[in-house]
Amino acid sequence: MAAVAAPSPIEASCRSRSAFGLNHVLLYDLADIALTAARQSGASYADLRIGETRREYALAKDGRLENFDERESQGFGVRVLLDGCWGFYGARRLDPQSLRDGVERALENARAVKPIQFQPIELERLPVHEAEWIMPMGVDPFEAQASEKADLLLSIIASARDHGADFCSASISAACEERFFANSLGSRIHQTRTRVAPSFQATAIDRASGRFATRDCLTPARGAGWDYVVGAGLIEEAARAGEEARAKLDAKPVAPGDYDVVIDPTNLWLTIHETVGHSTELDRVLGWEANFAGTSFVKPSMLDELRFGSELMTIVADRAQPGALATIGYDDDGAPAEAAEFAIVEKGVFKNFQMALGQAHLIGLSHSNGCAYADSPTTFPIQRMPNISLMPNPQKCSFDDLVSDVENGIYVVGAGSWSIDQQRDNFQFGGQLFYEIKNGKLGDLLRDGAYQGRTTQFWNSLAGLGDASAYHLDGTFTCGKAEPMQVAPVSHGSPPALFRNVRVLNTSDDA
């Protein structure tokens, strides 16, 4: 997101402590051991990730704290390029012998795939970096007391139930990743980032009819500390959620049809993620995900040619936006965050793919753009999204301005059920709240809605866009991709936006 300042690569004022049980000297020693062994065995390139991940998950349902779990894992992963073949090995033990054994196993794996490596892996020349980066953060979520978290969850639940919900579940997830990256070219990069995700779901039931309705938390996951959770107004939001879940039971059903739709950023982030984020991943375009996550309707020949959306549509990638979940100083190939600042779509025209190491030359480009991530030190880094966001309208445009431009429409809030085809074209997304728009005014709450579309048709129907005052950053901890499945955190920001003639379904009557 270019509209905000990037964090400093080294942020010494962070209150987070280093969780590594290993000191810098030992990390460098382990790196030297592994990378020297790889080089001496003939590897033309090798890299190493040593990391520790701390996670915390607390879950409460109604009046009961059902689970409170802290997790801490350490490990390493070594990747070697031998005779044009990748080999990778990861393990949990961090000692010199385990690193040496790991290199041997990685080399064995590279030799094992040689018979089916018909096209050697080629890498671009990587710049060398020696750096430390720590995400700026307020209060470390791992320093907050378990009792405080339990109290907050139970208060959220009580608030929802006091305001119309029959049931409520609430959870808090937190993660802190510390990674040390080293490669055979000489890079040595030590980074720490933290993220939190509050969540709840309020359920209201009409026992006589057997109907029930839910309203999920709209407070997004963020790259932030415990102070973000405390300050997010979750108890107040739970009260609204209780009322809204109850109100949904008696709401008017959505009449299926084509509508002008104003989409709130709490919903639009997921549409951006699925339709733009995934469709412009070069590994998918190359077919590397064809067996599982899928390919893409976007092709290399479409660079600078494809009319992805209307002129209002500018979508940027970045790894520097404060508070965003994919923000970091360097990606898991060691590429700096600056490489990941680029337009994917500019004024409606497709401009750039997301790339990881070894992909750029396949479409005639000289270098990748900082889009690698491994969800654990023990997993192979693959191309993953940086933060990808829809830029606000440079012209002044409020939410009310968007609504006033709609004669017969629907306003969609919050992410619901979602699904998109494997080439990222045909999609169907639900929501948490649907409101009627009539003659430029927001009207009644509706129930049982979802919208369906085709990616470029949908984005070309973008007819109105809020300005920066309505910009909102949302995201997820768990974007899944690859085999074996890896999950990645990522944020997507946007203002509210108006789309014309979008097909809306009724999920109870118009299946």
Binding site: A146, G210, G287, W288, N291, G294, G416, N426, Q452
Partner: protein
């Protein structure tokens, strides 16, 4: 890191000895996962990863705190125990507290083969090579993944329970796309023993399905007769199974809730041909012997001849309602019939043969409305014959209606799931159903 039963027990005993809590449970799991991916006929990424984790849960004054670690030296074990106790002391009392289980009587689930457990990446490369070779032979591009895993899980409690299970896994899945990138086919299989995995067969089926050059037919949205191959049936049955939770039904927030209160157990909700069982001793799809919370998995039907017979129930909810706890299962067996897919095709005047589904998701929990798309091998059937490849479609389909409208079932077959993803795969038959609701066209290939 793979541990034997004795080694896992020695670590669990250490943890229990460190515990100063009222009660304590220990879960240890780990092993070696190896995988290899290929695309356009050549290797892309690979991985071997030795994983290990230990979770200790301390029970103090009806409060439970948990802590997990990935390394098992004495200092780390003692610190994890102390931290879990520290967490427990900070938490509120659990009104539905249940104490750890004592010794249980587990069945035996045959899910381990030593030769499979000792495979290396070269075996996976060999499996991939068979797919690549077949693709080259018939002129399609091939993509896929081969995985093997050697895993163990141990569970111990301060009430003298110790349970240990191990499993070996191998899977291969392959996608074939025609050279115009305009059509695709898929096949896959998962087994606990490598000698049951037929890589040649997977290669043949995926490439045969992908080798169509004719322009796919576009079908208008609407209700159609469909033949779902076993992997497609499994995807839908899995969603049905994962919604079968007793508490949600008892509390009125499930499709299995009775209006006015209570669950619909004992009601005939589906076609009488629908029977879904879970059984650790099943030869095709054995569930683990040890379930969630250390509960034993027993042979039981969840749906029998269309009647809802069982719902999952946690120990806490079972205690509160005076009912039997029933662990969630990932391996199930949907009973089949004797109709072959060819038989089914011959019986269809106009319909669609579906290989598998993609991105399925519940849209509406009350009516179990599921959405998703067909993928990698749709074929139009007319007058009892497959006449053309057919473009993919989105569906919006109520599962209750689907499983109430079964016209024929094929033999039950073990289906695909990625090795390591829950430790197994369900078994299901091909299924002929009427009135399947395709809601929109997809250009996705």
């Amino acid at each position: 890191m793979f541990l034997s039963s004795d080694d896992a027990k020695a670590i669990a005993d250490k943890v229990l000895a460190y515990s100063k809590a009222d009660a304590c449970t220990v879960q240890i799991e780990g092993g070696l996962d190896q995988s290899l991916r290929f695309a356009r006929g050549g290797a892309t990424t690979n991985l071997a990863s030795a994983e290990a984790s230990l979770r200790v849960s301390s029970h103090i004054g009806r409060r439970i705190g948990s802590c997990s670690i990935s390394h098992f030296d004495d200092e780390a074990l003692a610190a994890a125990v102390a931290r879990s106790e520290e967490i427990a002391r900070m938490l509120p009392v659990d009104p539905d507290y249940v104490a750890p289980l004592g010794p249980q009587n587990y069945g035996f689930s045959n899910r381990y083969d030593e030769a499979t457990a000792n495979l290396h990446l070269d075996a996976l490369a060999d499996a991939a090579a068979r797919v690549i070779k077949e693709g080259a032979r018939i002129g399609v591009d091939t993509f896929g993944c081969a995985t093997t895993a050697r895993r163990f899980e141990a569970f111990a409690t301060s009430a003298s329970l110790f349970a240990y299970e191990r499993r070996s896994e191998i899977d291969l899945s392959a996608t074939a796309r025609n050279r115009a990138d305009a059509w695709s086919g898929w096949a896959g299989a998962h087994q606990f023993s490598a000698d049951r995995l037929d890589a040649e067969q997977i290669a043949r089926v995926a490439c045969f399905k992908g080798a169509h050059d004719a322009t796919p037919v576009d079908l208008e949205p609407g209700a159609y007769t469909v033949i779902l191959e076993p992997d497609a049936t499994t995807e839908l049955a899995f969603w049905l199974m994962r919604t079968m939770e007793a508490r949600a039904a008892d509390e009125g927030r499930s499709s299995f809730a009775r209006p006015g209160g209570g669950a619909l157990i004992g009601e005939k909700l589906f076609d009488e041909k629908l029977t879904i069982r879970v059984d650790p001793a099943d030869p095709l799809a054995p569930e683990a012997a040890v379930g969630f919370e250390g509960l034993p998995h027993r042979a039981r039907a969840f749906v029998e001849n269309g009647v809802l017979t069982t719902l999952y129930r946690s120990r806490a909810w079972a205690q509160k309602t005076g009912s039997e706890p029933i662990p969630f299962a990932r391996n199930f067996v949907m009973s089949g019939g004797d109709a072959s897919i060819d038989d089914m095709v011959r019986s269809v005047r106009r319909g669609v043969l579906v290989t598998r589904f993609w991105y399925t998701n519940i849209v509406e929990r009350k009516n179990l409305l599921l959405t998703g798309l067909t993928r990698d091998g749709n074929f139009l059937i007319e007058n009892g014959r497959i006449v053309a490849p057919m473009r993919n479609m989105r569906f919006n389909q109520r599962l209750g209606d689907l499983f109430s409208n079964i016209k024929a079932l094929g033999p039950t077959r073990r289906t695909w799931r990625a090795a390591g993803d829950g430790g197994g795969a369900p078994a299901a038959p091909a299924m002929l159903v009427e009135g399947f609701n395709f809601s929109s066209k997809s250009s996705g290939i």
